[in-house]
């Protein structure tokens, strides 16, 4: 009695599922859609690793139940780059500027930056730092990530 049928569009593909109401969107993407690029760190909204785009807005997929996303349009890290598997401009900027080390937090950062630049195509440094403040990285010290956002913005990534 706690199960629900949902239909979501994920990276342009329709995905159906029969799920428990308590299943988070993050778990639905990872377990039911096999899209394991969305990472789970804290699972209570602090770390930002699970960030995805829901109806055009970056959100924490661990703080949303999949049933709440019924009918929504979702973009995950797998849908950020071109279909041929090459890197998108934000991803390329992260590579060029050493915006990652172990890579665990990177999907959350890349999705966050993608959404941020779509709304702020010409950000100043304070806006960049503010936008990144909801994502934790334990390797880089953030300087490479900030440089990557700068480079992506200057290159017209949005």
């Amino acid at each position: 009695m706690f199960e629900h049928d949902v239909v979501l569009t994920v990276n342009g593909e329709r995905r159906r599922g029969r799920i428990e109401a308590r299943k988070t969107l993050a778990d639905f993407l990872r377990e039911d859609c096999a899209l394991t690029g969305t990472h789970l760190g804290c699972e209570h909204g602090v770390c930002g690793a699970c960030t995805v785009i829901v109806d055009g807005r970056a959100v924490r997929s661990c703080l949303m139940f999949a049933v709440q996303a019924d009918g929504a349009d979702i973009t995950t890290i797998e849908g950020i780059g071109p279909a041929d598997g090459s890197l998108g401009p934000v991803q390329e900027a992260f590579r060029q500027e050493h915006g990652l080390q172990c890579g665990f937090c990177t999907p959350g950062f890349v999705v966050t930056v993608q959404a941020f630049l779509a709304d702020h195509p010409d950000p100043d440094d304070a806006e960049i730092r503010e936008a990144l403040s909801g994502n934790l990285c334990r390797c880089t010290g953030y300087q490479g990530i900030i440089a990557a956002v700068r480079a992506a913005a200057d290159g017209g990534a949005a």
């Binding site: 699972e43 209570h44 959100v59 661990c62 139940f65 503010e130 403040s133």
Partner: protein, 292 residues
């Protein structure tokens, strides 16, 4: 880490949501943006047999200004209100408070009503509501009513709402004339809950005398704390810089903020007084800059 099982309801009308809350009482909880409730469920700090998702109720979204009041429907996302020119023009204090909530991803899902009804004592919107003298619009199976912000916040995460009450909108009065506003807070990291803070609104007469003032402290007690003694000292006065310093001390004098891992109560009190002074300076300067 998963919430305990629950039955999920997604009504499309306020009346249906109220009916569900009424039917299930303490076993049900309204789910707004979920940015506080979902982590509490995930950590099993809370569990409910029924969640009533308000996300499909269109009548619970939107902002309108009429008769000097800005009515923000409860499920309006914080990010929408943050960008709304009517909010910025009518209730600048709300506009300035919103970017201090969490991170932009949180504000994309988090709602105005959700934050108010969650009533975390360190959160910004309850303090803004108290400082401005906002009113809460509440629906229940026995009808609708309003509750003044001063009577709404009862304790940590506790409001005057009964289990079958639904907060449907917050009505912020649009202070006009020679008015100034400020919200100041100190947090460990950008986006964290504040260790201490204050929301401040002042209105001046043509001779720079304070006609009306609202001062609400956050993170300084179990609810937003109206600094009544400081408000009394400010009303009808035209305070000098020295006066403002003394009144800021008065504002925190009766508070007993808690000691926790983030800060001692004594530190919060010291920082709180400093923030009150900063907020009063800024709000007064803004109000004085408006031509009489």
């Amino acid at each position: 880490m998963k919430p305990a099982p629950f039955e999920y309801h997604a009504p499309s009308k306020v009346a249906d949501a109220v009916g569900l809350l009424s039917e299930h009482g303490d076993d049900a909880k309204a789910l707004a943006g979920g940015q506080s409730l979902v982590p509490m469920l995930a950590l099993r700090l809370a569990r409910f047999d029924h969640l009533v998702d308000l996300g499909r109720i269109d009548e619970l979204r939107g902002v309108e200004r009429a008769d000097g009041v800005l009515r923000v429907a409860a499920m309006t996302p914080q990010a929408d209100a943050e960008r709304d020119p009517t909010v910025a023009a009518s209730v600048p204090l709300l506009s300035r408070a919103l970017p201090l909530i969490g991170h932009f991803q949180i504000r994309n899902r988090g709602t105005i009503g959700g934050s108010v009804a969650h009533a975390d004592p360190a959160s910004e919107l309850p303090a803004v509501a108290v400082a401005l003298g906002a009113e809460m619009e509440v629906s229940s199976s026995s009808g609708t009513r309003t509750i003044a912000a001063d009577h709404f916040f009862v304790g940590t995460w506790t409001t005057a709402l009964a289990p079958d009450d639904l907060l449907t909108a917050v009505r912020f009065p649009a202070w006009s004339g020679r008015v100034g506003f400020a919200i100041e807070e100190v947090a460990r990291r950008s986006g964290d809950f504040a260790l201490a803070g204050v929301a401040c609104a002042v209105a001046l007469d043509p001779d720079d005398v304070i006609e009306r003032v609202g001062l609400a402290l956050l993170g300084m007690g179990p609810t937003p704390v109206r600094a009544r003694a400081a408000e009394s000292a400010l009303s009808g006065a035209s305070p000098s810089d020295d006066d403002v310093g003394e009144i800021a001390e008065l504002a925190v004098a009766d508070t007993s903020p808690v000691d926790d891992v983030h800060a001692s109560g004594a530190y919060r009190k010291k920082v709180g007084a400093h923030l009150v002074r900063l907020a009063l300076d800024r709000a007064l300067a803004e109000a004085r800059s408006v031509r009489a």
